[in-house]
């Protein structure tokens, strides 16, 4: 990305290894990476229990009481993490003693939470360095972690993991089936206390990198994503840790090169992951995917039309790409400049746009075809779903492109807005492209299944060749024609007699 943005981060090269070496050469970055990794591990594991026990609001509240703790520590002149630990652990113990269903007492927790924030505000205003300290407690200051703090985080993480090893099973059991656990003689009060203390420790460390207000993104969301992906407890914990880790690493990495706050990127990565997973869930339930009453030949003929349209779309795409390359070689300045592109490469842009429209149309046709096939053969439900994902991805990619181009245009007039459009446009383009790829994969999977269903080698070959531009869909068109002549594929039902 070499847009007109005004950031002044570290120079970026496309060689990831040199980039990483460069990054590792800064001590503050090493500290941030090490602390971040340990915190991601802690948060990922404990987040699983937070989700299982429905105590996400309690964890949010613990973070807020941590704010007053950190502020008090700043006022007294010690490291904020000690204040965080004392305040969150005290609050956690209080919650445990009051009752083991902390999640059910939203009002009490909310009241304490508001008071804690107010207390923190008082402490901060008593302290002279008002804005900066409050800012870093509220939103995290990952690049300010010292080596001593890293060591402290390391030993605390080790201690927490040791305690978790001991109480993992009973805690899991008590979280799942409280009454049976009580009858089995498990000490519920003690388990709840131990859990809240561990949670308090994890939150105290996590606040350092992500801040009080954004704690949810690290403590709850990764585990919430993980339990949707797997119902095996151990896998869920592993996935949750991995998600937290990718978010922390990715966030730090991007933050260093763009000079925007790391907390935003961490939260952003977690958010995008959550949206994707939830999106899949919502998409799977959607009425669009329910089987429709349709005769099978109808589905086949939709698929044939889809292959023809896709072949034309790809042909146009190749033509457009060639024209664009030629135009850009002649006028290099037009690359990131919409006006320049339109001026110098109008035929290329037109061809690419037509290809995109036809590509979308073919995806729609594929989707309808697979959905109709799914009435007689359920195995086509998956290709239909994947194609739907691809359609969604196409929409996202187009939206991202529009945002990106807007940002590039704004770069000349509204300086401050330009990077924002680029910041969101580029990831959306990437996400949309990946999802579109998933859709294309769906075309291939569906065509392969069609080839299996009608025992047609040419259809299967077409499906396999879909990775090669132009060839796969062309072979598919040919295969449909051949299969029709042979009578392998059911002939279309004349209008009026179907249904």
């Amino acid at each position: 990305m070499t847009g007109g943005g005004g950031w002044s981060g570290i120079p970026w090269s496309w060689n990831i290894i040199t980039d990483f070496r460069l990054l590792w050469s800064f001590e503050f970055m090493r500290n941030a990476m090490e602390a971040g990794t340990m915190i991601a591990i802690l948060a990922g594991i404990i987040g699983y229990f937070v989700v299982l026990r429905r105590s996400s609001f309690a964890s949010h509240a613990l973070g807020h009481t941590g704010f007053s703790g950190a502020a008090a520590a700043v006022l007294v002149g010690v490291q904020p993490v000690y204040g965080l630990l004392i305040f969150t652990m005290a609050t956690g113990s209080g919650m445990a003693v009051l009752g083991n269903r902390a999640s059910a007492r939203d009002v009490e927790i909310g009241t304490v939470l508001a008071f804690a924030l107010g207390l923190g505000l008082l402490f901060i205003s008593l302290y002279r360095g008002y804005a900066q300290e409050a800012y870093s407690i509220l939103f995290g200051e990952v690049l300010g972690i010292s080596s001593a703090e890293v060591a402290f985080t390391f030993w605390s993480t080790l201690g927490v993991l040791a305690v978790l090893t001991l109480i993992y099973r009973p805690l899991l059991f008590a979280s799942l089936d409280e009454d049976v656990a009580e009858a089995k003689g498990l000490p519920l009060l003690f388990l709840n206390l131990a859990f809240l203390l561990i949670l308090a420790v994890a939150i105290s460390f996590a606040v350092q990198i992500i801040g009080v207000l954004l704690i949810f993104a690290l403590m709850v969301t990764p585990a919430a994503i993980a339990v949707r992906l797997t119902s095996r407890s151990l896998w869920a914990v592993v996935v949750s840790v991995l998600i937290a880790m990718t978010a922390v690493w990715g966030g730090l990495f991007v933050a260093l090169w763009t000079n925007y706050p790391a907390s935003f990127f961490i939260v952003g990565i977690v958010f995008v992951e959550y949206i994707c997973i939830r999106g899949v869930g919502v998409l799977r339930e959607t009425a669009l995917l329910q089987a429709v009453e349709a005769p099978e030949p109808d589905g086949v003929w939709y698929l044939r039309d889809a292959a023809i349209v896709a072949a034309i779309s790809q042909g146009l795409f190749v033509v457009g790409a060639v024209l664009l390359t030629i135009a850009l070689l002649a006028h290099p300045g037009a690359a990131w400049n919409p006006a320049g592109l339109l001026g110098h490469a109008l035929p290329a842009v037109a061809a690419l746009e037509a290809a995109a429209v036809l590509g979308g149309t073919s995806s729609l046709l594929y989707f309808s075809g697979f959905r109709k096939m799914a009435t007689s053969a359920r195995e086509f439900a998956t290709p239909a779903f994947l194609t739907l994902v691809g359609l969604l991805g196409l929409g996202i990619a187009i939206g991202g492109l529009a945002l990106f181009l807007t940002g590039e245009t704004l770069a000349t007039t509204a300086y401050g807005l330009a990077p924002v459009a680029v910041l969101f446009g580029a990831p959306l383009i990437v996400l949309g492209s990946v999802l579109t790829g998933v859709g294309l994969f769906g075309h291939a999977v569906g065509s392969w299944k069609l080839g299996l269903r009608y025992n047609d080698a040419a259809l299967r070959a077409g499906a396999l060749l879909m990775v090669v531009p132009l060839v796969g869909y062309a072979v598919s068109c040919f295969a449909y024609r051949r299969a029709l002549v042979r009578g392998a594929v059911p002939a279309p039902i004349p209008r009026g007699t179907s249904g």
Partner: protein, 294 residues
């Protein structure tokens, strides 16, 4: 007696300090219980033999769950004597399997059923006095025994294929089978099932009762089942514990479910009607004065 056994033994050998198979499963003598100082019921004297299938029937709040909680050592009688499997009730008694009425999990609980059953497996450890003690803390190392016990328990309740499914994805009837397996995995001598049939339609109720009855016969487990309606299980029962109006009546269904006995229990005129297939209908007793306590 072997020094190391993989899990609590199925049948206890001669001379085992725990072998009290001669003693009744439950013995209550002039038992009286209060819940938050309110009298729930009193003067309960009864005896349940080992391997019996017993229904606990009575209106809401009559103290059925309180009876279970007393047997689990979670609630103490105010007077009288209660012995369960030959010993005083105590908390954490692994010889009793318990299915409570309420569960913490719901539709959003994404966890394999198999895991829940495994978690309930008590593990193997000898405690003081050569007693089996559940191994509840720390990591598990006898994963194979645990897996086998869980698979066996799931198999016994006809839910083996539900093992890898997520708890949140199950229907009410399937969930009750998993809970039953969870209670069975520790190889208990007694099962306490609190309203497992609520929220099930009549067909699923009968299927679950058949499963439970099968477990009672094959494993020889003494089973107490709290229910509102006795009819789904009336043909498998050995005894009925009828709790109403602060009093407890115990006996075979034929002894207890008579107009005279229930009228005496409720203190008002109650009719017990029988249909041709053995089902009973109790008329006049449900608008009673037994609605206190747990």
């Amino acid at each position: 007696m072997d020094a190391e056994l993989p899990h609590p033994p199925l049948s206890r050998a001669e001379g085992d300090p725990l072998d009290r198979s001669g003693t009744p499963a439950i013995e209550a003598v002039r038992l009286e219980v209060r819940y938050q100082s309110k009298l729930v019921w009193k003067d309960a004297t009864f005896r349940i033999q080992r391997g019996e299938f017993v229904a606990v029937i009575g209106p809401n709040g009559a103290g059925k769950t309180t009876l279970f909680r007393m047997m689990l050592g979670l609630h103490w009688p105010t007077s009288g004597r209660l012995s369960v499997l030959g010993e005083r009730p105590r908390r954490g008694n692994y010889r009793i399997g318990y299915v409570p009425q309420r569960h913490t999990m719901d539709r959003d609980t994404h966890l394999e059923c198999d895991k829940l059953v495994r978690l309930a497996y008590p593990g193997a450890r000898w405690g003081p006095g050569k007693r089996w003690r559940p191994r509840q803390w720390g990591p598990r190392f006898d994963l194979q025994a645990e897996g086998e016990a869980a698979a066996q328990a799931l198999e016994d309740v006809g839910a083996y294929e539900l093992g890898p499914k997520s708890l949140g994805a199950l229907s009410g009837g399937e969930l009750q089978r998993i809970f039953l397996a969870e209670a069975l995995v520790g190889n208990p001598e007694m099962l306490l099932l609190d309203e497992p049939l609520s929220n099930l339609d009549l067909r699923r109720s009968r299927e679950l009762v058949e499963t439970i009855h099968g477990v009672v016969r094959t494993r020889g487990v003494t089973t107490l089942l709290v229910a509102h309606d006795i009819n789904p299980m009336i043909r498998c029962l050995n005894k009925v514990i009828y709790i109403a109006n602060g009093r407890v009546a115990v006996g075979t269904p034929d002894e207890v479910l008579t107009s005279e006995r229930l009228s005496r229990l409720y203190g008002v005129r109650v009719e017990v009607l029988h249909d041709s297939r053995g089902n009973v209908v109790i008329v006049g007793g449900e608008d009673d004065r037994g609605g206190e306590g747990a």
